[in-house]
Symmetry: C2
Subunit: 425 residues, 2 copies
């Protein structure tokens, strides 16, 4: 029987991160760019504001005309024009003159202040009266105060959300350069697997891992390419994986990963002449995760256990997808939480317990979601985080601070996480 | 000149939440269900596990056969069969017998324990030896221990993520009932607006609000329907909005919302015979937000200021989209943070400052992103939160705790937020 040597999570992640998926650039319409990753730095193509402009509706004036203005001695100015949004006042403003101006319109030459509409005491079509001095540059939004031309506003590798779209539109990106979504092949193996639409049969279960992994690929920013499911037959799996590697950027198999008679992954890796990076990780669930590479392409042999398959994806597939998308924080976002339940049992492996978070008084309290077994599919349903319980000879108590890895987040964390190294002997 | 009476954010939100968008159900393939909202409770159609099964590769045995087993006196059992994943052992297991069993396979009748492969001392094709007693029910995953048939596992109105997909696949939902995405019409008004692809011209700016709002609609779970942009001409706007209300579930206009000669929204509301819910909110940015309804359909007159438009959407449009999607927490997620910068200036209106978050030692520190003006489009680019600074006669100091409204979150918070009521006179 094959003996596998477990390595720490950190070591396993490090071995994977030496590789990368193919990276390429797509050009997509602005309206289709949401949640894609910028492939170029987002640059201001002009100053913002592009000209000195009125921040409010009101009247553009010369401030010196109001220097003596008071309630008893109001300044009276002649209204000589009207600047609608998008239009211009083409003359110079002279002393004693005012121009009606709309929010956002360009301040006329020689004008250096705007009187807000609400501050005008009396006005008619021809004159306004102003009852207080206005200072030089009062109520003006200055050209370039928001940003200057040629400034980098958002770095490439950032995910596009509505705030990014605001800038892309402002600076004329009707077509947006984004990193191509990596294509990740998914094959489920296991003679026990039924299709999702099939009725249950004795001894069999429905194929859930392939669909879950597909959803994880999409959440990470990739495109899942489905290769269906196969019974535990080596030749068929070799054929599918060999073909798939021509079409996708990385390949995931689920099932057949552990040590046993029918276990496919070790034989598959050998048959396609790939190199195993590791085949056992000192973590639960997911200890029998295998990662291999062939000519720089990754082949993931994830466990058939739903919980283990899910963990293996998030730790070892997601960061390479994020790397291909140019992101800077490639790994699950780490935060701190407080245990809301005891975990009395010590474990020689670091545990990643699927958990839910309840915030009370600004503190994130966590407890397991559903049954705490790797085979539990229900626990995945509501999971928001992995609760990280480092390996060791002791259990954990309610009230202890722990690391959390956030599953729904798009921001990510940089490596290394603050997870103690596993001291597995 | 029209005088507008500002109402508090709470009051404004409450007025909007009395209405609802049309709600309907779509049926989508499982692989296209990500980020949709379940329209039915997700029900277990069978026990999980569906039968007693082996959690590890090993041998199914009768535990009584090992009651005297030790290193010096190993129990020797005859291997009478082999149960691959998905296959069944159809005989009864007799005393002195063992059956090779794969992870996940069904335990044979009369067997009550599994010996892990790693624990077998010596074995050949015909016999195994076991060196310790195994207890009744050792290493068995029991039918229904993860969940029982007919249990509701996820409530309708929940967003679908990979964990949900795991359950949907397990329970046979190859077609998933989800709430239809509300269709939200968007029209930008303003004679100053250029298309995104157009070069800048003096006095003009590119239309960014319509694209930003479209992205916000998508993030909230809806479908944006673009009605382009129009100059500040009432008749054309009336025509577009009248037609749009036949096609969409709600209509957004941006621009023309404030008080002034060319301001369209009040006239538009009047011309289409809609009822104004409010036209001023005691908040910055976004004080000149108008919301109206006609025959139960919402018309939003959002400001032309990028920051104000963004805020108006998140406070007043997003929760109605979420309601149509069946969500239970309709509003932006509230959390606590600590100011990393002084805000010395008091404000008669509650401020929603666009901010970025830096976590240090488990505390979320926040500071403004970019220029703190409603017109700043750069501040939107990196904004992760609104920092809520309640109205009042004092400013705020670095180190003070404040409420944050999270912009990138999908979980949401229920109403009311813990935001002090604005005491604007």
């Amino acid at each position: 029987m094959e003996v596998r040597r477990p390595i720490s999570i950190s070591d396993a992640v490090s071995r994977v991160m030496k590789y990368e998926l193919n990276q390429a650039v797509d050009y997509v319409p602005l309206l289709e760019s949401d949640l894609r990753f910028l492939a170029e730095d987002l640059l201001a193509d002009h100053d913002v504001p592009p000209f000195n402009r009125a921040p409010y509706d009101g009247y553009a004036i010369r401030s010196e005309d109001t220097s003596q203005a008071s309630l008893l001695n109001p300044a009276t100015l002649k209204v000589v024009g009207d600047i609608g949004a998008g239009s211009l006042y083409r003359s110079e403003l002279e002393n004693g003159q005012a121009v009606r101006i709309m929010t956002g319109a360009k301040i006329p030459n020689q004008s250096d202040a705007v009187v807000m509409l609400e501050e005008i005491q009396t006005y008619d079509a021809d004159t306004i009266t102003i009852v207080r001095p206005h200072h030089h540059n009062e109520n003006i939004s200055f050209q370039g105060e928001d940003t200057k031309k040629d400034q980098v506003l958002i770095n490439k590798g950032s995910i596009i959300h509505p705030g990014t779209v605001a800038l892309l539109a402002t600076f004329g990106y009707d077509i947006v350069p984004v990193y191509r979504k990596p294509r990740i092949g998914i094959l489920a193996t296991g003679s026990e697997l039924l299709d999702v639409h099939e009725p249950l049969q004795p001894g069999k279960i429905r194929n859930s891992n392939a669909y879950t992994a597909a959803s994880q690929v999409k959440r990470a920013g990739g495109i899942p390419v489905m290769y269906g499911k196969l019974p535990d037959e080596l030749d068929a799996c070799v054929d599918v994986v060999t073909d798939a590697l021509q079409e996708v950027d990385a390949m995931i198999t689920t099932g057949g990963a552990s040590v046993g008679d029918f276990d496919l992954v070790p034989q598959l890796i050998e048959r396609i002449d790939a190199k195993t990076l590791f085949n056992k990780v000192a973590m639960r669930p997911g200890s029998v995760t295998t990662v291999a590479e062939k000519d720089g392409q990754m082949i993931y042999g994830l466990s058939g256990n739903p919980g283990a398959c899910y963990v293996g994806f998030e730790l070892f597939v997601r960061p390479l997808i994020r790397k291909a998308l140019g992101a800077s924080a490639l790994h699950l976002k780490r935060s701190k939480g407080v245990l809301d339940r005891d975990f009395p049992k010590p474990n020689p492996y670091t545990r990643l317990v699927r958990g839910v978070v309840h915030e009370r008084d600004g503190v994130q309290y966590v407890e397991p979601s559903g049954l705490d077994k790797s085979s539990s599919v229900v626990a995945l349903g509501e999971a928001e985080v992995f609760i990280v319980l480092p390996a060791g000879s002791k259990g954990y108590q309610r009230g202890e601070e722990v690391n959390l890895l956030n599953l729904q987040d798009q921001k990510g964390s940089k490596w290394p996480w603050d997870i103690p190294t596993v001291s597995y002997r």
